[in-house]
């Protein structure tokens, strides 16, 4: 069975490596600051005991005050999983760093989130609309669409 790692202990390790990055850590997920997302992701991928090499799922949720981007990470070697989140309070121009250079599975998933939610991923090589056509006005999956 895939064990879900204890997020508080992992949060302590992250804080040692890059202090100030973690905003909150409860039993379900770790929330990190947007600016330090890339360093935290790199740390989680490259540390020998954590070894998160498989990005299973990338989603975004629109709570009206902020956007939340969620990463479901899995390690195939140790068979454990982790949920990483980041929040973005800017509604008109939300920007989150891209993790495509670490896990290429984020390629299409980040394009889809840009298409449907409007969150711009900084560092993505080809950020254009994936499911809807060029010239579509608006981002349908936001709560205030239509």
């Amino acid at each position: 069975m895939t064990t879900a790692l204890n997020c508080e202990q992992v949060a302590k390790k992250i804080v040692k490596a890059s202090p100030g990055a973690v905003v909150a850590a409860d039993s379900a997920a770790i929330v990190v600051k947007g600016e330090s997302l890339y360093q935290v992701a790199e740390f989680l991928k490259n540390t020998p005991t954590l070894d998160f090499d498989y990005l299973a799922n990338l989603t975004a949720i629109d709570y009206m005050d902020y956007f939340e981007v969620i990463y479901n990470l899995v390690s195939l070697k140790h068979n454990h999983s982790l949920v990483l989140k980041t929040r973005c309070r800017d509604r008109d121009n939300p920007v989150v760093p891209s993790v495509v250079s670490l896990w290429r599975s984020a390629d299409f998933q980040e394009r889809e989130i840009y298409d449907l939610m409007g969150i711009v991923f900084d560092g993505h090589p080809n950020l254009k609309r994936l499911l809807l056509w060029e010239g579509f006005v608006g981002h349908p999956l936001r709560r205030d669409y239509l």
Binding site: K128, W133, G135, F136
Partner: protein, 196 residues
């Protein structure tokens, strides 16, 4: 051999041009195209002389239709099922599904049509030579189906192309599709006689 790069139209321009085409088609298709259903009148004008050649021609045309494979979504699997060995569509003369619209008579639109795909459907319909007929198979192509309120689904293909026969179901059983095809046969025979 030297390979020289030459400047191709950048892909972003192609995307933008297609987006413009989709938006303009969306704006032009506010109302459904009326169905060509005048053939349902039982009275055929009695003062039209129908020759034996015409009669044989219409019979032959209706019994050897070349359908165009236009399966978009789940209904495509029931269409393939109709063409498979159990509900053999070859016994109605339609066993080769053509993939090029230039060689086809009947377009069976099976599945959900979205606005992004609509210009392609219109283009394929216009590429088919006359006489041509369209079957709308499944709820999604009749009226949008379970996805009717969605922001990207065309509520019925009769916004884009005129439809002759509607086959309801989600997905329709192969027997329903075969019944729709027999209706098309009746239409072809009656319509051609009227035109002659």
């Amino acid at each position: 051999m030297e390979i020289e790069k030459y400047s191709m139209t950048p892909l972003n321009e192609i995307d933008a041009a297609e987006g413009l085409r989709i938006n303009s088609l969306m704006a032009a298709s506010r109302y459904p195209i009326p169905d060509p259903d005048s053939w349902l009148d039982e009275e055929i004008s009695r003062n039209v002389l129908v020759t034996t050649v015409d009669y044989v021609l219409d019979w032959a045309r209706s019994r050897s239709i070349f359908p165009l494979m236009f399966g978009l979504a789940c209904c495509a699997f029931e269409m393939i099922g109709t063409a498979a060995s159990r509900f053999d569509i070859a016994r109605f003369g339609m066993d080769i599904f053509r993939w090029s619209p230039r060689q086809a008579d009947l377009m069976i639109v099976a599945g959900t049509l979205t606005w992004k795909m609509a210009p392609a459907v219109k283009l394929v319909y216009e590429q088919m030579p006359e006489p041509k007929w369209v079957i709308a198979m499944g709820q999604c192509s009749i009226s949008g189906g379970p996805f009717k309120e969605s922001y990207s689904v065309v509520p019925g293909i009769n916004r884009i192309i005129p439809v002759d026969v509607y086959v309801p179901g989600c997905p329709p059983r192969p027997e329903s599709l075969l019944y729709g095809i027999t209706k098309i046969h009746q239409k072809i025979v009656k319509e051609s006689i009227k035109k002659a």
